[in-house]
């Protein structure tokens, strides 16, 4: 188990390092970053001064090392636009995004897992078909469009929910649904497939042969085994969700990290964009690492090995 964790940890660090190189090199994709900062009105002297000021005149590996070592120390540079430390900005904005992500994945799990279980208990029933239809339709639904429809119906027409902002819990209802529904189809399908698989297994028959009541068979014996892969999927989806928060936050004007990313990209604020890509990637890496560990703990075969 410890060996497994260490191996995963090593892999996660390597992935993080590679991602950091990629997000660092993004800065040079446009050609000369100094010219980008200077803007259209800058003279050659201005650009040269900027180049020296930001250290763009040094060799790339040196610049990368500089960037990485200060990033590790918590210094992600300064935002071109806000003129504030990027780290402060992101920490400030991440709270909303994290809250949204947790709400989103919870919503997805609480709806998709029961639906998947019911669909698996009664394959080809009305509920199964409905679940399948919802999952196919859900995957095809553009999230920005879904968000706008919710606003039109629930905020404008019915006036039940506030259309944007973060002032109260009610403000998070629609963003949670829009962020969460996208993960539902995959979770639903995996739960259903896992339950179908487990329910036809020999040990479920053994449990029934012991005279275990059906609820105990379904939840204690079947779901306990079928849920293991769902845990990994949920972690992966949670990582995707944080990345996907950019669309949701822009629709509902939630000033989280996704919104910050959108603003920064539109304003060519590269240090912030770089840092955000790195941070979102790190979250994904941490989530998948934690899910691997949780998985190993849930599955006795891995726990011992």
């Amino acid at each position: 188990m410890l060996q497994f964790i260490l191996k995963r940890l090593g892999l996660a660090l390597l992935v993080a390092l590679t991602v950091s190189i990629i997000s660092f090199s993004l800065l040079f994709l446009s050609g000369d970053p100094a010219a980008a900062i200077g803007g259209e009105t800058a003279t050659d002297q201005d650009i040269e001064a900027i180049r020296v000021l930001y250290g763009f005149d040094r060799p790339l590996p040196v610049q990368y090392w500089d960037w990485l070592s200060s990033a590790l120390a918590g210094d992600l540079g300064e935002s071109y636009y806000f003129k504030l430390p990027v780290a402060t900005l992101i920490v400030d904005r991440l709270q909303i995004t994290m809250l949204l992500g947790v709400c989103g994945i919870t919503f997805a799990l609480l709806t998709a897992v029961p639906l998947g279980v019911v669909a698996a208990i009664r394959p080809n029933s009305f509920i199964d078909r409905l679940a399948l239809f919802l999952s196919v339709a859900g995957q095809a639904m553009p999230s920005f469009w879904f968000g706008l429809i919710l606003i039109v119906v629930f905020a404008i027409q019915l006036g039940w929910l506030p259309p944007s902002g973060t002032a109260s819990a009610a403000h998070f209802v629609m963003p949670t649904i829009v962020l969460g529904y996208y993960a539902m189809p995959a979770i639903m399908r995996l739960t259903r497939a896992g339950m179908l698989d487990v329910l036809s297994s020999d040990y479920i028959r053994t449990a029934r042969a012991k005279g275990a009541p059906e609820g105990r068979v379904l939840f204690k014996h079947a779901l306990r085994n079928a849920i293991i892969p769902v845990v990994s999927l949920a972690a992966v989806q949670m990582g995707f969700m944080l990345g996907g928060s950019i669309v949701v936050e822009s629709i509902f004007a939630l000033h989280g990290a996704g919104y910050l990313a959108w603003e920064s990209i539109a304003r060519n604020d590269l240090p912030t964009v770089q840092a955000l890509i790195l941070v979102f990637s790190l979250f994904y890496i941490i989530f998948t690492f934690l899910s691997d560990v949780l998985n190993a703990w849930l599955d006795p075969r891995m726990r011992a090995g």
Partner: protein
């Protein structure tokens, strides 16, 4: 008419029929079979794979899937009607008064729970007993099935045990509530040959010791000869011959039973170097309407009448019975093969 001198059988089955809906119609997997099991008695059901043995055992336990149709004229366990029993009644019986040992020890244990949890589950479900007492009973039974260091095994998980150990655990699990009837569906097929005999012997000894009735499902006639009190021979969903082990082995009446017995070497009867018998042909499809004798496509005694309904015949005074158009299982002028 019940004989007042004989005790009521523990299990009575009359006209058990199992239909399975399949793509091209209905598979008539088991068609009208009858048998009894008395307390403390071992009944062996023999037959090829696909003959309906396992389905029969699952039907007794009420463990057939929802789509499968089970009917019976009569099916009683100690006076309890199993055909009309509701789920609650069946649940109360299962694992307590009747339990089952399955074919696949490798997959029949839940990988997520420890051996101890799985062993004690039935006892905790059916008896008002403390966890500690249940675990003590589990240790006792693990020792009984020949597992060393039983107490420390309780914390282990199925993947940590070999196939032979797992089947011993399965046996211990089935015995936890001291059932009156134990159904073992080819309990040793999946195991190494060297372990098969040990496990089987263990099972039969424990059955005798606890005075349990046992239905042992197998295709191994050698096993049957050693342990059976009664034998039921199944072919393509029908019981073609039933009787005491003596009767079936020494005076087999049905051509199929004779064919089966020709397939195994018998000490003192089969000569060295002689070829063992085979039964040519394949088992017929049971999808759609099935009529007449199902064995007629492979039988060397076949006549036109085999397409009609086949009579039940009772050659002696005992329980011996078989189904064949021929009075002694042989066409007039046919040769006796055993």
């Amino acid at each position: 008419m019940p004989d007042p001198l004989l005790p009521e059988p523990l299990l009575t089955v009359r006209g058990l029929t199992i239909d399975i809906p399949v793509g091209g119609g209905t598979l008539h997997a088991v068609r009208g079979i009858d048998f009894d099991v008395n307390r403390g008695e071992t009944l062996c059901i023999v037959g090829e794979s696909g003959s309906g043995k396992s389905l029969t055992s699952l039907a007794l336990m009420g463990l057939l899937g929802g789509r499968i149709d089970r009917r019976a004229a009569r099916m009683e366990f100690d006076g309890i009607d199993l055909t009309g029993a509701n789920k609650r009644t069946m649940r109360a019986l299962r694992g307590d008064r009747m339990s089952m040992i399955f074919q696949e020890p490798m997959t029949s244990l839940n990988p997520a729970y420890s051996i101890g949890d799985q062993l004690t589950e039935a006892l905790l479900l059916h008896r008002d007993i403390s966890r500690d007492a249940a675990r003590a009973r589990a240790v006792e039974l693990l020792e009984k099935v020949g597992i060393t260091a039983a107490a420390s095994r309780l914390g282990q998980y199925p993947h940590q045990l070999s196939g032979g150990l797992r089947q011993r655990v399965m046996i211990a699990m089935a015995l936890m509530c001291e059932p009156e009837l134990i159904i073992a569906d080819e309990p040793t097929t999946a195991l190494d040959v060297t372990i098969q005999a040990q496990i089987l012997r263990l099972l039969v000894e424990l059955g005798r010791e606890m005075n349990m009735a046992m239905i042992l499902i197998t295709h191994d006639l050698g096993v049957v000869a050693r342990v059976a009190d009664k034998v039921a021979v199944m072919y393509a969903g029908e019981l073609v011959e039933t009787g005491s082990a003596d009767e079936v082995f020494n005076a087999p009446m049905h051509p199929y039973t004779r064919g089966l017995l020709r397939c195994i070497p018998q000490p003192g009867k089969t000569e060295r170097g002689a070829r063992l018998g085979t039964i040519p042909g394949i088992v017929p499809s049971l999808v759609g309407k099935v009529s007449g004798c199902p064995f007629r496509t492979r039988c060397d005694q076949v006549v036109d009448a085999c397409r009609q309904d086949v009579p039940h015949r009772h050659p002696g005074a005992g329980e011996h019975a078989f189904r064949c158009v021929h009075e002694n299982g042989l066409r007039a002028g046919g040769e006796v093969v055993t």
